[in-house]
């Protein structure tokens, strides 16, 4: 077998996103089985700083593709250059962020490669890579092999700890953007309505506090002080998002974000399987719910049966007191 190609992800302002480091960990775990080297491709309008940063992760080379049309990500522009960088590799991997989920299946189709999405593990068996994937809302783990010469996968960020730099300086190879298909001229980036926040990113936070539908218009009023007291990111159930109490990118769950913080506090969340699928790998789970029968208590390390409108402000006050 041959090399592994990691696709790096940059933020809007061209910085290397930490999510990339989970894909590098995935690649490091896959490499011994396939015996090749690590390559990393980075695409952007200005890739210099990110490429330099990536050079310390032990890659045989960093492929840097700089083009003004990459300033705003669209799969139609990115995919051909990832495909070009994938010549001679046997595995292409990115982290299963919204970027990786959007881009990599498109890359896979162009390579006529089989794809394993949102993997929670990868291991070698009999010279083949076996991908472990959560399925059925986290109720089953499937182990699969991909039977195409090139394979494509995405890594669930919460299951692959961020890679540490291994020193050295990988050579940086600058290549031109590959020619794009007809689709590229027919997609236009219009805008990003970013939810500006000084809080940590959900997928990377050490503490996450999530609120449910019952908070109604008081979602912010109740959850924000608690998040501030804990230095936490804020999440939400689907029902809270659907009702408009929290933005879409707050949704934790099977079909939202997958989180695995040190501490997860579920406030007024019933514990539907789709929600649990997104947070059950958290180290410590706290549930605050007025219904003692709520399913969330079946997986919570610490359950408090209480009215959240009283309990959460009291908890916030107590936490603030502790931290002085």
């Amino acid at each position: 077998m041959a090399n592994v190609l990691v696709v790096a992800e940059l933020s809007e302002d061209g910085k290397l996103k930490k999510s990339t480091l989970s894909a590098i960990t995935f690649a490091r775990q896959a490499l011994p089985a396939i015996g090749g080297a690590l390559n990393i491709v980075v695409l952007g309008a200005s890739t210099g700083a990110a490429a330099a940063e990536l050079a310390s992760y032990g890659a045989a080379k960093i492929i840097s593709v700089e083009d003004a049309s990459f300033a705003k990500y669209t799969a139609e522009h990115y995919a051909p250059s990832v495909v070009a960088a994938a010549q001679g590799v046997s595995l292409v991997v990115a982290t299963a962020s919204s970027f990786g989920k959007d881009l990599l299946p498109r890359v896979a189709a162009r390579l006529d490669a089989a794809f394993a999405g949102d993997c929670s593990g990868v291991a070698a068996e009999g010279g083949k890579l076996v991908y472990k994937r959560p399925m059925f809302a986290g109720n089953a783990s499937g182990f699969c092999t991909l039977e195409t010469p090139i394979q494509v996968a995405t890594a669930r960020q919460s299951e692959f700890t961020a890679a540490e730099p291994s020193g050295g300086a990988s050579p940086i190879e600058k290549v031109a953007k590959a020619s794009v298909g007809a689709a590229a001229a027919r997609v236009e980036f219009v805008g990003l309505e970013a939810v500006k926040s000084a809080r940590p990113e959900l997928a990377e936070a050490k503490v996450v506090v999530s609120g449910g539908r019952g908070l109604k218009e008081k979602f912010k009023e109740v959850m924000e002080p608690l998040a501030d007291a804990l230095g936490a990111a804020i999440g939400a159930s689907r029902a809270a998002v659907d009702a408009g109490y929290a933005p879409g990118d707050f949704q934790v769950g099977q079909t939202g974000k997958i989180v695995a913080p040190q501490l997860y506090v579920a406030v007024g969340i019933s514990g539907a399987i789709q929600h649990i699928a997104g947070m059950k790998s958290s180290k410590v789970i706290v549930a605050i719910n007025k219904d003692p029968e709520a399913p969330i208590f079946q997986i919570a390390d610490y359950g408090l049966v209480a009215d959240m409108f009283q309990a959460v402000p009291a908890l916030t006050a107590e936490l603030k007191k502790r931290h002085g």
Partner: protein
Amino acid sequence: MKVLVALKRVADPDNANKVKIAAGGGAVDTTGLEWKPNPFDEYALEAALRLTENGKAPKLRLGEVVVVTLGPKEVDQTLRAALATGADRAIRVDVTDDQLDGRLVANAIKAIVDAEKPDVVLMGKQAVDGDSNQVGQRVAELLDWPMATFAATIKEEDGALLVGREVDGGVLTLRVKLPAVVTVDLRIVAPLSVLSKVTAAEPGFKYNDGVRFAPLPAIMAAKKKPLDVKTLTDLVPGAALTTRYLKFERPAQRAAGVKVKDVSELVEKLANVAKVI
């Protein structure tokens, strides 16, 4: 406008009977699970209907919706239900689920799109059985069409769609020229999420939240709507699986912990026992 909707029938993981693993781990045991349309595909169908009608009562069909599935004969029932809610035609590729993977599904849908020439292909962002999230993106690439995945809003423009996508950092808006592929997210069935040129021109118009239900006469009429059956190998010559599941396991279960009596005890436990604050 002509819209092609891909619709998969899934064993519902959200079921009192719970997903079980067959002895030996060779398969997911679906006995006792409820079969239903993938929720995201029901949403895609609702979005397709909204794009192809005059939404004011009495609703008037202005475009065409073709629903496509790959699955066994039992899925005809699911297709009939889709026809009853307003789709015009259905196509079923006759295969069993174990003969399929995402690559084959995408290749087959691509072949159907080549024949049907829709303006838009709409589908769910993921099937909630396999949670794979790949078919839409693959179809777009195979067709060399632009795509907008994880759509929370769709607005029709002249020869294009303005799509609001739910991404990690917020809502990202793309304009895709038709023909295009759109995969939908949960919020696509909110009252104002999908606006055709006709409904956008109606001041104050909005849909009911969620998907529509078929009235009884429509259920009867749907029995007469066309449902074509096709063969996978006609669409994808030499079709072969390239994703093979070797085994399934039940993930480790978390045990319930303790109930605390009040906030002070909770803080004490978090600080001194769990040591996470």
